[in-house]
Symmetry: C2
Subunit: 112 residues, 2 copies
Amino acid sequence: MANHLDSFFAAVSDPTRRAVIERLTQGPAPVSELHAPHDIALPTFLKHLKVLEASGLVRSEKKGRVRTVHIEAAPLAEAESWLNRQRRIWEARLDRLGALAEEIERNTTDDQ
Amino acid sequence: MANHLDSFFAAVSDPTRRAVIERLTQGPAPVSELHAPHDIALPTFLKHLKVLEASGLVRSEKKGRVRTVHIEAAPLAEAESWLNRQRRIWEARLDRLGALAEEIERNTTDDQ
DNA sequence: ATATTACCTAGCCATATGGCTAACCATCTT
DNA sequence: AAGATGGTTAGCCATATGGCTAGGTAATAT
């Protein structure tokens, strides 16, 4: 039952990891470059990368001594789709409520 | 710097809490009804509700002894927007890459 | 007046998370 | 061959998270 969404949303709930994602939308980058702007120790940063990779949001290959990381679009789209679905259901319900309110309004007016 | 997105994504990274959200898109509900389908103790469930409420995804009012919970749309839209933005940037980059590839293709063909 | 219902608080427990340092490869550079 | 660079592993620590039980309180139903 453990959903993709679990690990995706968890991955993206951390500001450091979101920053990495934002950087990676601009194109792939080696670990050291991704690490540079963040004021935390490298091993700590590597943990974040592992979380991202485990969630499927990111992949990486090592060539020589440098590991290059790139973003993976599918999980992003999946999460977006879930949010979109929820919002649409919610809005549809609001519409029905609106229609109901109008109807009540009409009836009430008729009755008077 | 602590972003709204932090607590939102964290809130939504748990399957129990996502289920609650899904239920609430259908309309408001009292705590006991929200709790019913989940096989966990009430106090545990209440913690989940607190997380949701702290993230701004949900609000509730108590009347008599029953507390009614309803969903709040704004944070949902905000998160969706972040995801959407990332995906669009990423896709735009792919398009540029595609154009570049085409151009290279053209030049290579011309040169031969 | 009592019992039931609906929720809340407190407190315990195990595991997960995000941070660190220290030490260790492995690959380039010089 | 030595040194510097880029990444990795191991292990420690504090706090957060998700679960539980036990024991409230306040409102309604009998």
